[in-house]
């Protein structure tokens, strides 16, 4: 598939009245046919981004391009995108068929064409035979499907999804996650999915944009974002992590909690202060004197898949461990980890600086 840009944001800032800006100088490109997720806490500006793409709001400064044509001031009804809303926004006075047919009716399509297209869209979301049902009597999952059918029947080139799964219960939510991913593959169009649920973001996306306070903190594949968070916010927001202050002694050598450890990071100044991230599932419980760290177990919670164990070392740093092994609260245990489990973050580094550093030492590695 050729990788062509479908949506491009150029230095977008969005500000309402005299409030602090919701988005600050945001630029990015979205490629055709990919599943993108905008991930961030509430109020980070993720919903504003899709409202800008849909055309419900206009940027304060900057420009939005669709297929390389500027669309910043084009009204929503003239854009080739459709939205699935958080509350689905189905029309309560219309039945399922008429809800799905709405977009085609306002385009003045012929009635028999509408009938065929609506039937097909409803078959696509497994709602055949429910054409004449009212909206108010339907379950959350069914309403969700109607909303999907109503959007895709218009054959948009980009589908925007504003936290569409947040109103569903856990089991239904994971089912719908599979269905959405499947839908995106079958339709082959670009999805822009907004969520505050990091697991959902990691499971669904080709690419994740992590946002905080109106700025894109990091973008990349789910693996990149999980394994190589650029800063404390991303590390903390995506999954659980132990973040400890440390000093980068030299390339491949880092010091924290009074010891020096081998690692795989480089490109720092000698003895530069940094932050160390170790994921709880990368810590392995060993006997008291066998691990690289010695900690005392403070508390333990059974989470189903694993135990969540909270420990403290002698300096008072908290260590979160995920393990399938049970331990006794109050015991001294050892924690072991490998060099690749350590991820070192430069303090206050932006995404661009991080990428540049990564590139520079990849070149070194290739040269060597």
């Amino acid at each position: 598939m050729p990788e062509e840009t479908i949506i491009r944001f150029e230095n977008i800032t969005k500000q309402y009245d005299n409030d602090p800006p919701v988005l600050t100088d945001v630029s990015f490109e979205l490629e055709r046919g990919k599943f993108y997720t905008l991930l961030g806490p509430s109020g980070c500006g993720k919903t504003t981004i899709i409202r800008l793409i849909a055309g419900f709001v206009q940027p304060t400064t900057g420009a939005i391009y669709f297929d390389e044509q500027e669309i910043s001031n084009i009204p929503p009804d003239k854009r080739r995108v459709n939205t699935i809303f958080q509350d689905y926004a189905l029309f309560p006075h219309l039945n399922v068929f008429e809800n799905v047919a709405f977009g085609l009716r306002v385009k003045r399509m012929k009635p028999d064409m509408i009938k065929a297209k609506v039937r097909e869209a409803l078959r696509f979301v497994n709602l055949e035979g429910l054409e004449n049902r009212g909206i108010t009597g339907m379950s959350g999952g069914q309403q969700q499907r109607v909303a999907v059918a109503r959007a895709i029947v218009n054959e948009p080139e980009v589908l925007l999804l504003d936290e569409p799964l947040s109103a569903l219960d856990l089991k239904l939510r994971s089912e719908m996650q599979y269905e959405l991913r499947e839908l995106q593959k079958n339709l082959g169009i670009t999805f822009v999915f907004v969520t505050h649920d990091q697991e959902e973001a990691l499971a669904l996306s080709d690419e994740v944009f992590v946002l905080n306070s109106g700025v894109i903190q990091q973008r990349g594949t789910p693996n990149d974002i999980y394994d190589e968070p650029v800063n404390k916010f991303v590390a903390d927001f995506i999954g659980e992590s132990n973040i400890i202050p440390g000093i980068m002694i030299n390339d491949y050598l880092v010091e924290f909690v009074g010891n020096q450890f081998e690692c795989v990071d480089q490109g720092f100044y000698p003895n530069e202060p940094a932050e160390i991230v170790i994921r709880p599932e990368d810590l392995e419980i060993t006997g008291k004197d066998q691990g690289k760290l010695q900690v005392r177990v403070d508390s333990q919670l059974f989470r189903g898949v694993h135990y969540e164990i909270c420990c403290y070392d002698k300096d008072g740093n908290e260590w979160l461990v995920h393990s399938t092994r049970k331990v006794t609260v109050g015991d001294e245990i050892g924690l072991d980890f490998g060099p690749e489990d350590i991820h070192v973050m430069r303090l206050g580094e932006t995404e661009d600086e991080f990428d540049r550093r990564l590139e520079s030492y990849e070149e070194v590695r290739h040269a060597g």
Binding site: A54, D77, D87, A89, R133, T136
Partner: protein, 267 residues
């Protein structure tokens, strides 16, 4: 518990007897052949015959209906637009000011509205008659319609409009295909409310009518002043029955409207 139930039942009965007794008293003597409101002599339909034979009364009835239907239709259109405009006002203070102005019209006494209209019509030289009555009925009905439609508009989720726009609807499509159908219960309620206000309005109409134009309430008032004739009783009885039929009809229509929704929920 049971004692309380009986007490409240007695209380309720007394209240309703007091409320309805004058009407039933009036209806009872409309069948009196003696022509007075005491000493029931014998049963007769004479007074009803007189009502139906009175072409002048028939024209007045028609006037009343035309004024009521026209004024409530026009005021519904104006009121809906007004309610839409009020919800679109951005600043909360301006919105509240508009709403207060609207509510003042509802609570201000009919006499004052009627008198001020009379002054206005005299000033700008509008002849009293059909036109002046219609204009003043529209004027006091519009705020009622606004008040009935507003709650519907306010409970409508703004994402519905976003969704319609998103699906390619123009501003006109949004209004006719989403907003109006959504608020239609309020529109109907407003229309019927305006209809009843117009039908039984006396005070305002009394001030602004003239040139031989009259409505039922004004006519009954002048008949009653002229002297006791049982045609008034007969006419009032007919109006009461017509209203009763309207209320019962409305009850059945609204019950039918609610039915399919219940069935859906049960499925």
């Amino acid at each position: 518990m049971k004692r309380m139930g009986r007490l409240s039942l007695i209380y309720l009965t007394i209240v309703f007897v007091i409320l309805y007794a004058p009407i039933f008293y009036l209806m009872y003597y409309s069948f009196n052949s003696a022509g007075t409101m005491h000493n029931f002599e014998s049963f007769t339909f004479d007074w009803y015959r007189e009502v139906f034979q009175d072409t002048r009364l028939f024209i007045i009835l028609l006037n009343t209906l035309v004024i009521a239907l026209l004024s409530s239709a026009i005021s519904t259109a104006i009121g809906v637009l007004g309610a839409l405009a009020i919800t679109r006002v951005k600043t909360k203070r301006f919105q509240n000011a508009l709403l207060t102005l609207n509510n003042v019209m509802i609570v201000s006494p009919d006499v004052i509205i009627g008198a001020s209209f009379l002054v206005l019509f005299a000033m700008i030289g509008i002849k009293l008659g059909f036109g002046s009555v219609l204009i003043s009925h529209i004027a006091f009905s519009v705020p009622i319609v606004v008040l009935m439609v507003l709650p519907n508009l306010e409970e409508m989720s703004p994402t519905l409009i976003d969704a319609a726009r998103d699906l390619g609807a123009s501003g006109w499509d949004v209004l006719t295909r989403v907003v109006i159908p959504y608020i239609s219960p309020g529109i109907f309620a407003g229309f019927f409310m305006a209809l009843t206000y117009s039908l039984d309005d006396f005070a305002v109409t009394f001030f602004v009518t003239g040139g031989g134009f009259s409505t039922l309430s004004v006519e009954i008032y002048s008949l009653a002043r002229r002297g006791i004739s049982l045609t008034i009783n007969a006419l009032s009885t007919l109006i009461f029955l017509a209203t009763l039929i309207l209320v019962i009809g409305y009850y059945f229509i609204s019950k039918q409207g609610a039915k399919p929704k219940e069935a859906e929920v049960r499925e």
